[in-house]
Symmetry: C2
Subunit: 213 residues, 2 copies
Amino acid sequence: MAYRETEKMRLRKAGIRQRIFDCAYHRVSQGGFRNASINLVAEDAGVATGSVYRHFESKAELFAEVFREATQIELDKVESALTGQEPALVRLERAIRQFAERALRGPVMAWSLIAEPVDPLVEEERLNYRRSYAEFFERVILEGIEAGTLPPQDAHLSATCLVGALAESLVGPLSPQQQGPVQMPPVGDQSRQKVLIEPIIDFCMQGVSGQRR
Amino acid sequence: MAYRETEKMRLRKAGIRQRIFDCAYHRVSQGGFRNASINLVAEDAGVATGSVYRHFESKAELFAEVFREATQIELDKVESALTGQEPALVRLERAIRQFAERALRGPVMAWSLIAEPVDPLVEEERLNYRRSYAEFFERVILEGIEAGTLPPQDAHLSATCLVGALAESLVGPLSPQQQGPVQMPPVGDQSRQKVLIEPIIDFCMQGVSGQRR
DNA sequence: ATAAAGAGTGAATCAATATTCATTTTTTGT
DNA sequence: ACAAAAAATGAATATTGATTCACTCTTTAT
């Protein structure tokens, strides 16, 4: 024998894989999944088209991974916003406000994650993550019910409704049609954001608590 | 000249167009847009593939029309459920309950209309119709605010949240994955439906009214 | 009956990328 | 330096239905 994979090679391959992944991620964050073909990603990464397939099973796998990475970041933020000693309602409000703010700050990626048409495999990830969001919300709602700060309710359904209300109310403002193909102004100033976000929070908090704010 | 379109011909063409449309509609209602190729629709309708194009601009146009027809029926039902002399909240509840019940009764079509991945042109129709639903809800919310039976709020946002909460909470139960490819039991008995629908209504009514139910 | 015009046909073509794979280049151990 | 092994390449191929269009069949008015 003459060739055996060495540590150096392993590192180089990992680096290339990472570069391909990063370029795919970047493309999506700039122009959505629609603008991210394998050829373009390969070009960005400075490798041949076929090389992408040395590192990823298929296009769908690559972009499912991109989707997971991007969404997990948001999910982590939501989770940590939901964590704390405050009453459940306060934590829910913090999480929802933060999610919406971040979405409006990075509208292209947010739209891709929330609403862009995608491969079935990626769509599956989307459904999984929506369920994950709902599960986090559900847990906090249950805590609130137990602590007596929230009224008894079907926590699972309430959580699902939260996710839906949040997504739907953001889809309009985030959609490329609304934003124009290239969004020059970063979606809107703080006051514009506030006008959008506060009513969402009002609705969601009332839905969960049955209490006027 | 020798040939000029006669009334008889006009009628026959209209009939064929209608038959193609009906077959497309039927295919969607049975197996969603995914199972409705032009070839199959043509076969169902007993015409050649190419003939479909004598009557419809493109596949996307045909199915956009199917989408409109199917959704308009639901929209009309919602509109009439929203109409009446009762307080706004009562009418909203009636409309939402009816929408959800109908969706669960015809889960394949409902899923296609609410969540199935579709052509961009059809997706556009979906967005339009979601906006239409929201507009109807918004009008009623505004009436409620004016009449003093609902608290002041951003009616547009509240309406959008209603649409989102409703859609999201139905997507799970309606999804083919949940249902299995062929849903033998018609989705669930009345009690199952009640368990699903009542919490949705609780959340939505509380979101709009800020009142515990 | 005839021929002009339109309608109907369905096999062939197209389109747009994802994917492959025969070939070339690089790496490694002797 | 050599050759085995693997990695990289990118032009060629595959895929999957939508769409076309040259041809045939019908309808109509004379």
